[in-house]
């Protein structure tokens, strides 16, 4: 059975004259960790709201496991768990009470509920905090609790809106490990994020900007759509160099990374060969040059800025 878990077919949403999502089509297969990547206001949240049945599409259609997300929203809501960006559990209720409420809300039978709560407390490692009020938990623990509550009805699909925003690296790692475990159990995971390093952790990534889907592929495929090599140079003084180089017509763009400058150019080999013979900026000193592997940020920059010159092929 290869029916996609999530299917978007020319999905659009406009608020008045503003097109929040434009003609979005994509399919997500079972077991995928799909990273939905884009800047704030790109349409990530609107898309997720449509998938959750909280906003009706103004065009196209979307389905989860074959069920229409708006028309059958009551049915669809039992199929997924949702972890919002902002902590949205009840702070005055204890960990166990939050679980019990969401269990009841999703219609988990009472006989099974306590057993499930016990298992989930173990999964999110909050067994000792069982009777602690949610407001007394740390940020990371709250997020773990939110994930636990989203799992109470054992959904096959999970939506995460910026799951690690504002968390320390230890909890970030813990949450990603949890996501891997869930994925391993066969759950499909849909994550929105604007952290590029988080996109690397997904099995598939979709870029969205201004409501348009720019690309959708596994991270590796996206990176290989980049020209094999990316030129990075060390220059001094750094900031004047950044400004000057940005203005060069033969460069598509420049970005600063760990003290070096990454140059997006369609023919970087020729450019550096020419510079080796004649460095055109007497007030800047070229200290070094090297070829680096592009990371997700480079890929996203290239797609979102339309630097098609640095891409060997464009993945739609």
């Amino acid at each position: 059975m290869n029916e996609p878990v999530i299917m978007l077919d020319h999905l659009s949403k406009s608020y008045g004259n503003v097109q929040a999502v434009r003609d979005l089509s994509l399919q997500i297969e079972r077991g995928t960790i799909f990273g939905f990547l884009g800047p704030n206001g790109a349409g990530k949240t609107t898309t997720m709201r449509m998938l959750c049945g909280l906003t009706h599409p103004t065009g196209g259609r979307a389905a989860i496991e074959g069920a229409h997300v708006w028309r059958d929203r009551q049915e669809v809501r039992t199929k997924f768990g949702y972890v919002p960006q902002r902590f949205s559990l009840y702070p005055d209720l204890t960990v166990a009470e939050n679980f019990r409420f969401f269990g009841g809300a999703y219609g988990v039978p009472g006989s099974e509920l306590e057993q499930r709560i016990g298992r989930l407390l173990h999964v999110i490692d909050l067994e000792e905090k069982r009777n602690t009020a949610a407001q007394s938990l740390s940020g990371g623990m709250r997020q773990l609790l939110a994930i636990g509550c989203a799992l109470i009805h054992d959904p096959r699909l999970l939506f995460f809106d910026e799951p690690t925003a504002g968390l320390d690296p230890v909890h970030r790692q813990q949450i990603w490990n949890l996501l891997y475990d869930l994925s391993n159990e066969g759950k499909t995971i849909f994550v929105t994020t604007h952290y590029m390093d988080e996109a690397e952790r997904c099995t598939e990534v979709g870029f969205i900007e201004e409501g348009l889907l720019l690309a959708k592929a596994p991270p590796r495929a996206l990176k290989s759509s980049f020209r094999s090599r990316l030129l990075e140079i060390d220059v001094e003084p750094l900031m004047p160099a950044l400004v000057r180089l940005r203005g060069l017509p033969e460069l598509l763009g420049v970005s600063l990374r760990s003290g070096g400058l990454r140059l997006y150019a369609s023919e970087p080999e020729k450019l550096i060969a020419r510079w080796r013979e004649h460095w055109p900026f007497p007030d800047l000193r070229l200290l070094g040059e090297r070829w680096v592997e592009p990371d997700m940020e480079d890929v996203f920059t290239a797609y979102s800025q339309g630097y098609h010159g640095v891409l060997t092929k464009i993945i739609p």
């Binding site: 906003t55 009551q74 949702y82 009840y90 019990r100 409420f101 809300a105």
Partner: protein, 395 residues
């Protein structure tokens, strides 16, 4: 799928009950204020009479007869007299004397009475509050009437023998009529529905209604607004709970708390003020429908407001006219017709009327069924409205 899942409603009610239980300060307020308010309001409205109005008495006549009148009016409970100096020319300056009324017995009053050409007493009265002005004048008239009656009796007693001899010559019929003319003609008064004429019996439904309305509307108004503010509403909306399950589940714990409070207020009224309650089942129905209507109103405000602050503001603005125009403490008949139509929009108006019809008039359902219907319709409309507004979040 069932129209309503009991488990779903129960889980929302459970959570909402925990919110109430955990918020200890509000809980304390909710449990202690209603009985306290009942005591306070109950005593405030215990008697409808005006007493101890600070008043100035200036006696310029200074005769035994004037003193007799002063003895009578001193016993009048309406006034707390203080004596002004007889030559005071500024009796009209009420604020300077710190009084609300001044009564001047003019010089030569006694003599004018003797001569059969009575001088009027002079009464200055603070007209800023119409009720006080009228009550003060009425009270002075009453004392003056008592005085006049006594004067007449003593005059008759002191009539010369000849007059009595002359009177005896009149036919019996005429004599009887003459004597009856000298007495006040009587009224045989039978007070119905509130035989002891106690204000408290009239006011109790007002107190119950007011306190409940205050609590239910404001508390309920905060519930959805709070979830909206904290972002939990969004989480609630993506669960498989239906809107009606959320609304009904949220209301249930407050219904239980309110029903408990009705009982407490009634107990205080009964034990402390001796107010009796009749037709329990009918009273229960009236209270239940009123509570549902008030809770629905709170929910509507809640679903409409963006924040808790807004919810409280809307509640206060709604409750303000209700206090004055619902007939909780004073009969609606005092209001002009146009305003009375507006009064009919408030649940409290129908509650007070129905409650009094049941408890004071001990009337049958046919007398208050319209009020019950209005309350029921109000509950339905507000609940449907709240569900509708919650749906609109999904647009």
């Amino acid at each position: 799928m069932k129209w309503l899942s009991f488990e779903a409603v129960a889980s929302v009610a459970y959570k909402e009950f925990l919110h109430i239980y955990r918020d200890r300060r509000v809980l304390l307020l909710v449990l202690t204020l209603p009985p306290l308010f009942t005591l306070l309001f109950g005593h405030a409205f215990e008697t409808g009479e005006l007493t101890d109005v600070p008043s100035l008495l200036v006696n310029q006549d200074n005769t035994p007869r004037a003193q007799t009148f002063i003895d009578i009016i001193s016993k009048n409970k309406t006034f707390a007299w203080r004596r002004g100096s007889p030559d005071a020319k500024d009796a009209a300056d009420l604020i300077a004397h710190g009084v609300q009324a001044a009564l001047v017995i003019p010089a030569g009053w006694n003599e004018s009475l003797e001569n059969g050409d009575p001088k009027p007493l002079l009464l200055y009265v603070d007209g800023s509050d119409i009720n006080t002005a009228d009550a003060v004048e009425g009270s002075v008239r009453q004392s003056l009437g008592d005085f006049q009656l006594k004067q007449r009796d003593s005059m008759i007693e002191n009539l010369p023998e000849e007059v009595f001899e002359l009177g005896k010559q009149l036919p019996v019929q005429i004599r009887k009529r003459f004597v009856s003319m000298m007495e006040m003609w009587g009224i045989d008064r039978k007070v119905l529905y509130n035989p002891k004429s106690r204000v408290i019996d009239y006011v109790v439904p007002g107190i119950i209604g007011l306190i409940l309305q205050l609590l239910t509307v404001t508390l309920m108004a905060c519930t959805i607004a709070r979830e909206r503010e904290s972002g939990t509403l969004y989480q609630l909306m993506v669960t498989s709970l239906r809107r009606r399950e959320i609304v009904i589940g949220k209301m249930l714990p407050y219904l239980v708390v309110s029903a408990f409070l009705v009982t407490v207020i009634m107990l205080v009224s009964n034990l402390h003020f001796g107010v009796a309650f009749y037709q329990w089942p009918a009273l229960a129905v009236v209270c239940l429908l009123f509570l549902l209507c008030s809770l629905g109103l709170g929910l509507l405000i809640s679903a409409f407001s963006r924040t808790q602050t807004q919810a409280i503001q809307f509640s206060v603005f709604f409750l303000l006219p209700v206090f004055v125009l619902s007939g909780a403490f004073a009969p609606l008949q005092q209001l002009p017709t146009a305003v009375r139509y507006i009064s009919e929009l408030f649940p409290l108006t129908h509650f007070c009327r129905a409650f009094r019809l049941v408890n004071m008039y001990r009337a049958g359902p046919e007398f208050y069924s319209v009020d019950l219907l209005v309350l029921f319709a109000g509950a339905l409309i507000t609940f449907a409205g709240a569900v509708f507004l919650l749906r609109r979040i999904e647009q």
